[in-house]
């Protein structure tokens, strides 16, 4: 067994309105913990977690973005370089669901063309406060041809699954590319990507 700590590095990004649970999703995934205290993310945070898919160790570097409206322009500059984006809404918050369209547009404008997307309807444990039905989530995902899942960071529902499905989709794409382009376009350059975060110009400093 290889002594390398990972074979591939994937950068993922969490976006969505403020308060939908992006940080909690990340926290659940990376630390398997949940805190109900709401601390607004004022900036860009990241955590890493290594998963194994099809015998490959994949290091996920997951960027958590500030959801507050006033940061939207700034956070879009972090889209570039992301290989997968999770758009999160809150099933108890109609507005956060309506804004998915806006977030999708943001992705179109700012992210790499071949970025893998996934919509997550979070807080699915709060059934009594639900205002967005699962069907509506599924419909919008179908309309845009995107993966969809309802999750709960609190009850730990579908969190692992969401990340591994997204990672798997990227892996599929990566594998496809490697074959087509005769391996010339390797998607992840371990050395370079390790150093520079998704943010486009923070370079190696």
């Amino acid at each position: 067994m290889s002594k390398k700590t990972y074979d591939l590095l994937f950068k993922l990004l969490l976006i969505g309105d403020s308060g939908v649970g992006k940080t909690c999703i990340l926290f659940r995934f990376s630390d398997d913990a949940f805190t109900s205290t709401f601390i607004s993310t004022i900036g860009i945070d990241f955590k890493i977690k290594t998963v194994e898919l099809r015998g490959k160790k994949i290091k996920l570097q997951i960027w958590d973005t500030a959801g507050q409206e006033r940061f939207h322009t700034i956070t879009t500059s972090y889209y570039r370089g992301a290989m997968g984006i999770m758009l999160v809404y809150d099933i108890t918050n109609e507005k956060s669901f309506e804004n998915i369209i806006k977030w999708l547009r943001n992705i179109d404008e700012h992210a790499n063309e071949d970025v893998e997307r996934m919509i997550l309807g979070n807080k699915c444990d709060m059934t009594d406060k639900r205002v967005v039905s699962k069907e509506r989530g599924e419909n919008i995902a179908r309309e845009y041809g995107i993966r969809f899942m309802e999750t709960s960071a609190k009850a730990n529902i579908n969190i692992e699954k969401a990340f591994s499905e997204l990672a798997e989709a990227i892996l599929d794409q990566t594998a496809g590319k490697e074959n087509n382009d005769n391996q010339e376009r390797v998607v992840v350059d371990r050395k370079n990507q390790e150093k520079s975060p998704a943010y486009s110009r923070c370079c190696t400093s």
Partner: protein, 841 residues
């Protein structure tokens, strides 16, 4: 401690814990670390049937954010937990000690803090534990690993870089090796024979020597000496293995399994052959050989040959040596031994391994030590109790008594007759002329853990040589990786490494992410301090990043940041000063930025991106409102104002500004905006004779009077002008510079083409400049001509004037042509032209 404060600390503390972990009591104390008093919050937490005392260090008091609290000790309340309140020899009677495990922590409490409740809770928990006498403390692991064990002082103080992921991974995998390591038994057969230059004849059968065990050994290490000592062999330093012997050996090994020769190494008369079970071949790697000659001129009639190999996780070394001969030469033998030990190196790629760098070492050979006896050789031959002679064996003396050679090596008990020297073909002692005394020349030593000798024997029946062969069988336990267990540990280690990387992200805290500057006014300096601190255990490098691809600046040009990058060591903090100064270049921009601001809704003036190297980015939002001033408005807007600028809202002003095409209302038939008129009028009356009224260096650029004049102009004051001619002159330039568009709307390119011709320039003024701008321009030129007239007194010649005014009026990248352009108007008679233009409506 006030109840409110206590409650807010409790709230922050509670965030540190997970569901089901209940904070029972908190108590503030301090510890003395070096010369410092460091605040601690002691927190007693219960989870299920167990509880613990947490000691938190406080980065900011009172702690508000999670990051303000750092765990500095986690003490399970178990049988080792003791709280000692006796005022000992300590420096304060408010001292108490907590003992847990092998550690003692000394705390001090504030005299005005009541410790009773804290003590009571702890006593109760200690009591509870002693009754139950067990508790599940697993939940504490989450707190221990991240905050305690990972802190490395050398890293925190910047002496060492943080470990990278890969090295942490290797370290962790190594640390947990026992969890996935098992020891598997391997049978190793070592054999040595000095064959006395005999070639193996067809009828020679080695089974009697090599196949004497019940089970088939896993590995054979067979050392021969004196396979060929001809002059030719010696001179050529023969290294080609002798395949006659190897074939014979392969015939002679245990018939119970399939074997193959792994490797043979030969040096002149010595040869070492390693034979293994074929089924083991894939477990063996890194096979290397080495040879050392010690005889005369290192020719190799004496010396050693060795094989190094890796079997599963262990490194094994086999050495076959032939040391110097003759009874009296034991010192030479000792030296040969030393030399082999020193010089024998096994090179595997870049890695060189010496003999002692192996887990298990088997050293065999004709070591040639004799029996050091006073009795004559003949007597030895007739002596039957050989075990008594053994204490006279030179090697026994050198090895066991003097510890001179084979230090830390072991040898089994010798229960066989001396193996030298026999008359070939017989079991009779040497009867030749030399009449050599018998000796245990042929020996087997080993060193290493988990090696057991099963037997150590000689073989009398092989009689072709003057030596008898010797062999020894060992069971060794070889470290082997259990792949199943390894896979599980590997997965866990990956998780640990992920956690390590997450926990070792440099973190920086910022006192506030919203910086509200309140009301901003033109030409005043506003400052806020941004307090940043490093509360993590790693040094932090930070810098502000630019937000968009187009510009490289990290903030709007009216903002200054005192430290755009920097470094903070653990526990340090610093204050970054953020200044805002709205000058003529930014006045109009900030008004446009804020024009849609609704009352009571804060609009960000800018968002700064504070980047922590290898860590997160923090967004700092700069808020502020702007009090509009005439500076930064369009010149035609100024013409349209029918009351002081202070009576307009920013939005109203911007609406007028945006509506540039709207005509200037009829009631205003002035030739220039009020503010320009007032300045020129004042200067006309008070400034024409003042030396250095305008200076190229703009000496009055930052004069404190500027703000007074601003207020005077903005409020349409009827008071006396609060400035001086010099500051009025500066204000005049500032009005032009602050306007969103230049007064002279002729491009640099146009001037470049036509600036030679005054008539063409006049046409440009007529055709390219709006009427208002044209009027203001000529009005200003007429005034400047008056200044120029007093050149002898005020020192302002036309060139100086052009140099100062060209940038303000034209704002070209290069002032070369605009200066020439102004010079044309200053040096030519423009009375008629001006009169016509100024009359126009």
């Amino acid at each position: 401690m006030g109840d409110n404060l206590k409650y807010s600390i409790l709230q922050t503390v509670e965030q540190k814990f997970r569901l089901g972990e209940v904070v029972l009591v908190i108590f503030e104390a301090y510890q003395i670390v070096g010369a410092e008093h460091q605040n601690r919050v002691l927190v007693v937490v219960k989870s299920g049937n167990s509880s613990a005392l947490f000691s938190f260090a406080i980065a900011n008091y009172p702690p508000i954010n999670l990051s303000d609290l750092h765990i500095n000790a986690v003490l399970p309340i178990n049988e080792t937990f003791i709280i000692d309140n006796r005022p000992g020899s300590g420096i304060s009677s408010h001292q108490f000690q907590i003992l847990s495990g092998n550690e003692t922590f000394t705390y001090y409490y504030y005299p005005d803090h009541n410790k009773e409740q804290f003590d009571k809770v702890l006593r109760k928990l200690i009591q509870e534990y002693s009754e139950e006498n067990h508790g599940n403390f697993m939940w504490l692991d989450a707190y221990k690993s991240s905050d305690l064990s990972e802190i490395d002082l050398d890293i925190a103080t910047n002496k060492l870089p943080p470990k990278n992921r890969e090295s942490k991974f290797r370290e962790e995998l190594e640390r947990r090796k026992p969890e996935y390591t098992i020891y598997e038994p391997y049978k190793i057969f070592c054999a040595t024979w000095n064959v006395n230059l005999q070639q193996p004849k067809e009828d020679l059968v080695l089974r009697e020597w090599l196949s004497t065990t019940e089970d088939a050994p896993d590995i054979y290490a067979i050392g021969l000496q004196e396979i060929d000592m001809s002059a030719e062999t010696i001179i050529r330093s023969e290294t080609r293995p002798d395949y006659n012997w190897i074939a014979k050996i392969l015939e002679g090994v245990h018939p119970g399994d399939a074997y193959e020769e792994l490797i043979s190494v030969r040096f002149v008369g010595m040869m070492l052959t390693i034979v293994i079970k074929q089924s083991l071949r894939s477990s063996v790697s890194k096979i290397t050989t080495s040879m050392v000659g010690t005889g005369t001129l290192n020719f190799g009639n004496k010396g050693g040959v060795g094989v190094s190999l890796q079997l599963n996780e262990n490194f094994l070394c086999f050495i076959n040596s032939h040391l110097a001969a003759h009874v009296q030469e034991f010192e030479r033998r000792n030296e040969d031994h030393d030399e082999i030990l020193r010089r024998m190196q096994f090179k595997d790629g870049f890695r060189t391994r010496n003999i002692l760098e192996h887990d298990q070492i088997f050293w065999i050979g004709d070591l040639n030590y004799r029996i050091a006896t006073a009795i004559d050789d003949g007597q030895i031959k007739n002596f039957c109790e050989y075990e008594k002679l053994f204490y006279l064996d030179q090697l026994y003396i050198e090895h066991v008594k003097k510890k001179r050679v084979f230090r830390d090596f072991q040898e089994g008990k010798i229960t066989f007759k001396p193996t030298y020297k026999y008359d070939p073909g017989t079991d009779e002692w040497d009867s030749s002329e030399k009449n050599r005394a018998p000796a245990w020349c042929d020996r087997i030593f080993w060193k290493g853990q988990k090696v057991e000798q099963l037997c150590y024997k000689s073989v009398m029946q092989l009689r072709i040589s003057d030596h008898k062969p010797v062999y020894s069988v060992f069971i060794t336990y070889i470290m082997t990786r259990d792949e199943k267990k390894f896979k599980r540990v590997h997965e866990e280690v990956l998780k640990t490494v992920d956690k390590y990387e997450n926990d070792n992200q440099p973190q920086m805290t910022v006192a506030e992410t919203d910086l509200d500057f309140g009301i901003l006014r033109y030409h005043e300096m506003y400052s806020r301090e941004l307090l940043v601190a490093n509360n993590c255990h790693l040094p932090v490098h930070f810098k502000f990043l630019s937000k968009d691809i187009v510009s490289s600046s990290v903030c709007e040009d009216w903002i200054r940041i005192s430290h755009k990058s920097g470094e903070l060591l653990t526990g340090n903090s610093m204050s970054i000063r953020i200044d805002i100064f709205i000058d003529e270049s930014s006045a109009s921009k900030i008004m446009r930025r804020l024009k849609d601001a609704q009352i009571n809704v804060k609009v960000p003036l800018d968002i700064l991106v504070l980047h922590v190297e290898n860590g997160r980015d923090i967004f700092i939002t700069v808020f502020g409102e702007y009090q509009p001033s005439i500076f930064g408005l369009r010149l035609d807007t100024l013409m349209k104002l029918n009351k002081s600028v202070l009576e307009y809202s920013l939005k109203e002003l911007m609406d007028i500004d945006d509506d540039a095409n709207n005509l200037i209302p009829f009631y205003n038939n002035a030739k220039a905006p009020r503010e320009i008129y007032l300045m020129i009028d004042y200067l006309y009356r008070n400034g024409l004779n003042i030396p250095h009224l305008f200076t190229i260096q703009r000496r009055h650029k930052l004069s404190p009077r500027i703000c007074a004049i601003r207020d005077w102009l903005d409020s349409w004051s009827v008071e006396n002008f609060p400035g001086t001619p010099q500051t009025a002159a500066e204000i005049l330039l500032k009005i032009f510079e602050a306007s969103p568009e230049p007064l002279v709307t002729i491009t640099e390119r146009e001037l470049q083409i036509y600036v030679q011709y005054f008539d063409r320039c006049k046409e440009l003024v007529q055709n390219k400049m709006p009427l208002l701008n044209r009027k203001i321009f000529l009005y200003v030129i007429m005034f400047l001509k008056e200044i120029q007239k007093n050149y002898t007194i005020n020192g302002m010649d036309d060139r100086t004037i052009a140099k100062i005014f060209a940038p303000a009026l034209c704002r070209h990248q290069n002032d070369q042509f605009s200066q020439k352009f102004l010079l044309l108007f200053l040096s030519n008679d423009i009375k008629d032209f001006a009169r016509v233009e100024l009359e126009k409506n």
